[in-house]
Amino acid sequence: MYPRWLWRASALPGTVWLFLLFLVPLYAVVAIAFGDVSPIFQLPVPVWNPLDWHFEHMSQVLTLFAPSHELWLVFVRTLIYVVAALALSVLIGYPVAYYIARFSHRSRTTLIVLLLVPFLVSYMLRMLSWVNLLAPDGYVNSVLTGLGILRTPYDWLGGHGFVVVLGLVYGYVPYLILPLYATLDRIDQRHLEAARDLGASRFSTFIHVTLPLSKTGLLGGAAIIALPMFGDYYTTNILSGTPDTSMLGNQIDFYFHGGPQPTVGAAITVVLAAFLVVVMSYYLFSVNRAQKEMHAV
């Protein structure tokens, strides 16, 4: 009913924008990672033609990723932090989403508004509030020493992995709860009633009905928070700031801003992106399978 060209024309500006300012820039990272370095100033020179690519920087970076080398440690640390933060987020987020979706009645609106509050507060303020609380003379230390749990104030911000993990959980868990809540809320209550009528206990109803039905939301929420966590460098910088807790993002930041070798930084970025593409493919595969299972039920 509309002229044919209309919708194509309507999609054009946005598509061109994303092509020029998203796709081309991504290619620029690859062109630098496989590019040249000018001999005098050691400045990176992008090589746009794949046929002329140099592989020495990339292979040099890849050897750094080999076990017991410099970047291997950082990579393993990043993986541990993200997996730990993800597990904790699910442990905290699932019960909360489940309770709000199934058991809150009069308090539901209040709880949903409270759930949205972190989205109105900037991430940096939320981290700053923990810097204030965890300071040597901050509230956390004064409460713990006041109760006699700690004898002397603990140096929370002195470079502890668990503080970084807790910071990541604090920062990202709202983004997990929201999609999870949406999925759990959409589950037809009659499924649960049927399971109960057929004699399943509360626990086995949860394991065999609710959990499988919420799998897509759970996987989706997990991907939504895991991807940015892999690229995070500011949380660990603000809550620890020592090389002992440095993540892959910190290395990229370092090679571009502190170090002299943007080419190495670009190569690490490519490795990170490639790793995430693999993780994402597995994720899409399992979501696909979960959806098929759901339709088969």
Partner: protein
Amino acid sequence: MSVVLPVRAPARGGRLSRRLRRTADNPWGRPRFLGAVTWLYMAWSIVPVVIAIQFSFNAGRSLTAWQGFSLSRWYWGDPINSVFKDPALQHALLQSLKLAGLDVLIAVPLGVSLALGLARWRGPGAKAANFLMLFPLVTPEIVMGVALFLVFLHLFTFIHPGTTAQLLGHVTFSISYVVIVMRGRLFSIGRDYEEAAIDLGATHWQTLRLVLLPLLVPAVLASAIIVFAISIDDFVISSWLSCGSSCDTVPINVYSAARQAPLPSINALAAMLVYITIGVVLIGYGLYRLAMRGNRGSLADLGV
């Protein structure tokens, strides 16, 4: 609520375990444990921020010891260090607002038009464009930051790091959010209204202007609010495309000051963003309600 339950098996064990088993087996019982976890989570997620905002009203210079209430000191009272007197803080606030405002003005029209196109354009290229639109949503910000930084340094060299580059970056990550929100609304209103309008003799242009666009207003408002909120919260893109201190936004300022013994003015600066975001959300929600008057749609239309 008390419901008589059919007795299953006689419970064995002591009184406590019997009571536990009864609680676990009662499908109508209130799950007290889950409720406690939920409310504890809410407290954990909100109380630290409330304390941080409280300290922006501290009468003294400490961020850890409460020294009395002062409404104005760190906002405008202190002649050197308050948000409205310290040029750096003032400038960061303006930069954040400038970026967020311009981002809304550019990203929302681009995203609305892209969403319309993607929802209705059938043909080669539509699928690729759809895929391209989803990509920024799953790309970690640091990858996008590095990419834009390098492309402005080596290819689009006429754009230098600075406000323009920051704005281009913000629009790039905002477009996809607009498309997602618009798409939900487009699917839920369907094409019936437009077909009716055409049948009643409206031209294409009239249908677009008088039927479709008014129906999209609530989703446009919702996406404008979302774009404003994510733009004002952004740290990574702004920081990678920054030109130095004169391009600092509020999150960049907070980030660099956090571990350097800051004054409560940094809390006041960050709190300003919270007040502004809440204000924008409330105004947007008011307009949204106004636009949704007499409309049977709900938040679910937006895919929320």
